[in-house]
């Protein structure tokens, strides 16, 4: 570590100048000749049979291209894991805002009127709007039992621990839906001709997911479907699954009309219709000794998956594996289920099930600490996973982790102990403003779960341009998190050339190999490693050709590469994924190496709760983490800060209001995300422990910061108020309700 010239340095964002000049081209910035605009007619009910579709008066319908499910040439399916998510509703609808019919017209101003003039009549069926209703099968709305997926994960003998326990502590924790609220809404443009096939440009994370889905939906051969990611204005998981839907819709309109078609959602449509974070209900029952040693746990996870299965089974898998947190459990049983309801389908969102599980365990640890009279930090220290111990899946920790040290640094940077003691003392005074400090310790698995990376079998490549510039060819996409920059840093380092001598190839499925999706905190660690190997291969070829000496400058490299291409036509090097040694996974028993590596963190939040308004202000936030090697300190810090801000939003502001499955506050006006005045100073610290099998020691980073803020903040609120809140989002009215109910005399004061 430390010998590298480019890795580890704050080099400038590759596409940064284009972004600060306003020149970066997002999908709505593109216009094609003869382009039509598309719009979607959606279900107004949660569940029922479509009886008829009428086209109302006053609209020149003959000018419109109209697409229904019967126009779909191939499978009426968004291809993800199962086959239940239709591209357009056929006979029945299963959630509000489900797409039923598509319209296209050259004048985009005519479209909202046309959409409003389409009248769909239904026979309404009973629907399910909670996990509890779904559990009761009241009624059955999906499959035979409303269950998308269930897991049972066991270690040791949990049934034997209850009699040995000094304390048995139970808790129930719930989390709400969360909207991604990327600043750029979903959008796509499609062009089709019989000769050239189908091309879709879109705001998206995973070009090959969209490719797979559109091949299936169109019935076209693979080589006749081309997906191109354009500059993407934020995603956070929200553009992992849904672009296959909007891309399919644009494609259907383009195929029917023979013209380019652009569909851009406005904010209201994007918020109401697209996927969100899974709501959860998690129950813990823990056996513990009076000294605070965890003996065993029974954990029951229920996720609301919405109307179709989308990615719920994999979200549930990550939630299950992360359920026990960063602790050693000699005995544990986790039962988990993802339930069908009649909300729009929930999907991928940064953290992917882990934030829900970690919220529950980290609130629960504070409850245990409270009951035992042990300090929250001390209880955690007594149970932290240590190198050589086995996780809940039986994975032996091979990494040189030191969670005590992370904790120590987080406590020192936040002045935790002094503040904990001072706030407790001051809070007994008559003032209405109470202060609290709380922490959360957690882990996040890097990359796909279990055998996922093996199945992906990712391929990365590098080649050189005719000018002698090295090019990174991957399907990994940039949507703000820094993919372009990080991968070019790795490539430049492996080639031994300047950062400016490397560029990214186009994220176009007709050009780049399938490096897998840009999700699961896998890009730096997994794809980065492949890019590194491809770079080494490229260099070796050039040296072996005699065009490049062993010691060379960037200029020598460029000259040699240019000459090689001129002489031999092309220079390309590929690298395919190989699992790190010792990584084995049993999908049936849910045992083994769940992840090749984990990121680890301890976060501390300091809050003020105003008992007069029940408002909560986060005053300070310390985020200490170990993510392996930090490849670019500015980008890495930005990832942590941005994730913490989203976590603060999830904890305190972002509440989706529902009415019979339909989002009621689908506007930025009343779905509130943190502004520049809501965010505390976020102080970010890295412990760097290079991971041997990641690129230059990197592990995953992107999702980790979503996990810690909510439990740390609610633990701080408990410290400030002496009240226990076990549900997020926690809005002032929620705090007021509990204070008013439990302590009537304070209600008078608060009113």
């Amino acid at each position: 570590m430390g010998e590298e010239k480019i890795v580890g340095k704050p080099v400038l964002r590759k596409e940064g100048v284009a972004k600060v000049r306003g020149r970066a081209q997002y999908v709505d910035d593109l216009t094609l000749p003869g382009m039509l605009h598309g719009a979607t007619v959606r279900s107004s009910i949660a569940r029922g049979r479509i009886l008829g579709i009428e086209f109302g008066a006053g609209i020149p319908w003959e000018e419109f291209v109209i697409v229904t499910a019967t126009d779909i040439p191939g499978a009426n399916e968004i291809a993800l894991i199962n086959h239940d998510w239709p591209c357009l509703a056929g006979e029945a609808v299963n959630h509000p805002e489900e797409a039923i019919l598509l319209l296209a017209h050259p004048d985009r101003h005519l479209l909202p009127k046309a959409v409003a003039a389409v009248r769909v009549t239904y026979e309404e069926w009973p629907a399910v709007f909670s996990i509890e209703e779904s559990e009761r099968r009241d009624p059955i709305v999906w499959g035979e039992d409303n269950i998308f997926k269930a897991f049972l994960m066991e270690k040791g003998d949990v049934d034997a621990v209850w009699s040995q326990a000094d304390h048995i502590i139970e808790g129930e924790y719930t989390t709400g839906a969360q909207e991604h609220l990327y600043i750029e809404n979903n959008g796509a443009i499609a062009v089709y001709s019989a000769d050239d096939g189908l091309t879709v440009w879109g705001s998206l994370q995973c070009p090959f997911y969209v490719h797979k889905s559109l091949v299936k939906m169109t019935g076209l051969p693979e080589e006749k479907v081309r997906i191109v990611q354009v500059e993407t204005g934020g995603a956070f998981g929200g553009k992992e699954d849904y672009p296959s839907m909007i891309g399919a819709h644009a494609a259907l309109l383009a195929m029917k009309s023979g013209k380019p078609v652009k569909i851009i959602y406005d904010r209201a449509e994007d918020m109401a219709a697209t996927t969100k974070r899974h709501p959860s209900r998690i129950r813990h029952r823990t056996a513990v000794t009076r000294e605070g040693k965890l003996l065993g746990a029974e954990i029951e996870i229920a996720l609301d998956g919405g109307a179709y299965s989308t990615l719920s089974s994999t979200v549930l898998s990550r939630a299950t594996i992360h359920a026990g947190g960063a602790y050693f459990w000699p005995n544990i049983r986790v039962r988990s289920k993802a339930f069908a309801t009649n909300y729009p389908p929930y999907g991928a969102f940064r953290g992917f099930g882990a934030p829900q599980s970690l919220f529950a365990i980290e609130r629960h640890m504070d409850h245990i600490a409270e009951e035992l009279g042990i300090a929250p930090d001390e209880l955690r220290r007594r149970n932290f996973l240590q190198p050589g111990q086995e996780t809940t899946t039986g994975q032996r920790i091979q990494e040189d982790i030191n969670l005590d040290q992370l904790m120590g640094r987080a406590l020192a940077e936040s002045d935790y102990h002094a503040k904990r003691e001072r706030f407790a003392r001051e809070n007994t005074g008559p003032g209405m403003k109470k202060k609290g400090i709380g922490l959360a310790a957690f882990l996040h698995g890097s990359g796909f779960t279990g055998s996922g990376e093996r199945y992906l079998n990712s391929l990365a490549a590098m080649d050189v341009t005719t000018e002698g510039k090295a090019r990174v060819l991957v399907s990994s996409t940039e949507f703000g998190q820094g993919t372009n920059t990080i991968l070019c840093q790795i490539a430049a380092e492996s080639l031994g050339v300047d950062y400016d001598a490397v560029e990214m190839g186009p994220p176009d499925t007709s050009v780049v190999p399938n490096t897998g999706p840009t999700v699961a905190s896998r890009t730096s660690m997994v794809v980065g490693k492949l890019v590194h190997s491809a770079g080494v291969g490229l260099k070796k070829t050039l040296v072996a050709s005699g065009l490049l000496r062993e010691a060379y400058t960037t200029e020598d490299f460029v000259t040699a590469a240019r000459t090689y291409v001129a002489q031999y036509g092309a220079l390309r090097s590929e690298s395919r994924y190989e699992a790190p040694p010792g990584v084995h996974w049993d999908d049936q028993k849910y045992r083994g190496e769940a992840y090749a590596a984990y990121a680890w963190a301890v976060y501390v939040a300091e809050v003020t709760v105003d008992l007069a308004t029940c408002g909560v202000n986060v005053d300070d936030f310390v985020a200490v983490q170990e993510v392996g090697r930090v490849l670019n300190p500015v980008l890495a810090t930005g990832q942590i800060e941005g994730g913490v801000a989203q976590g603060i939003g999830w904890a305190l502001y972002e509440k989706v209001m529902w009415n019979r499955g339909r989002m009621q506050n689908n506007q930025m006006t009343n779905y509130i995300i943190p502004t520049s005045q809501d965010i505390p100073p976020i102080r970010v610290f890295f412990e760097e422990r290079p991971f041997g099998h990641g690129a230059y020691g990197a592990k995953g980073i992107g999702e980790l910061p979503m996990d810690g803020p909510a439990p740390a903040i609610l633990n701080a609120i408990a410290h400030a108020t002496g009240r226990q809140f076990d549900s997020v989002p926690l809005l002032p009215e929620d705090i007021f309700r509990q204070i008013a109910v439990r302590e009537p005399e304070r209600e008078v004061v608060a009113l």
Binding site: I183, G234, Q481, T637, S676, Q677
Partner: protein, 160 residues
């Protein structure tokens, strides 16, 4: 609806457009003048991605009918600096990591430059207040605050 003629001085260039009086300034900039640097995030004046200066005032161009902008001086992100000579806030956003996905960036830059023009030495509280009409979902704002602070100190160095 009949088309009306309007004159807009955008980034120092005079544009004549024929459009509906209630057309949003945002749409005129993006689709009539092909100045697509100005972005739409919400269409209701909440997110600030469409921020531009209208006669020196910071406005959400999604809320301005073009009729109200007739004859006005308009400044957009495209008018801030040039490739070879970035504006101090552009340079600072680049160096400090103030731009991630880039969608809030044009509006955030226009708002930041406007803030520094009104108040050349804002403290952190003033920066937070000055940017509170511009939402960012990527950065958590810390890198943006640092960038504005760096733009201030950079300007100080230039002044010597």
């Amino acid at each position: 609806m009949s088309l009306e003629h309007y004159e807009l001085h955008v980034n120092g260039t005079l544009y004549k457009v024929a459009t509906h009086p209630m057309a949003r300034l945002l749409d005129v900039l993006r689709y009539e003048l092909q100045l697509t640097g100005t972005k739409e995030g919400c269409g209701e004046g909440e997110c600030g991605a469409c921020s531009v200066l209208l006669n020196g005032e910071l406005v959400n161009s999604c809320l301005v009918p073009v009729a109200q902008a007739d004859g006005a001086e308009i400044e957009t992100v495209e008018g801030l600096g040039a490739d070879e000579r970035l504006h101090a806030v552009q340079r600072a956003f680049l160096e400090c990591g103030g731009a991630q996905c880039g969608m809030c960036t044009p509006g955030m830059l226009v708002a930041s430059a406007h803030l520094l023009k009104k108040n050349p030495r804002p403290d952190l509280a003033e920066i937070r207040e000055g940017l509170n009409g511009n939402l960012c979902r990527c950065t958590g704002y810390m890198r943006i605050f640092e960038a504005v602070e760096r733009a201030v100190s950079g300007a100080d160095e230039v002044r010597g």
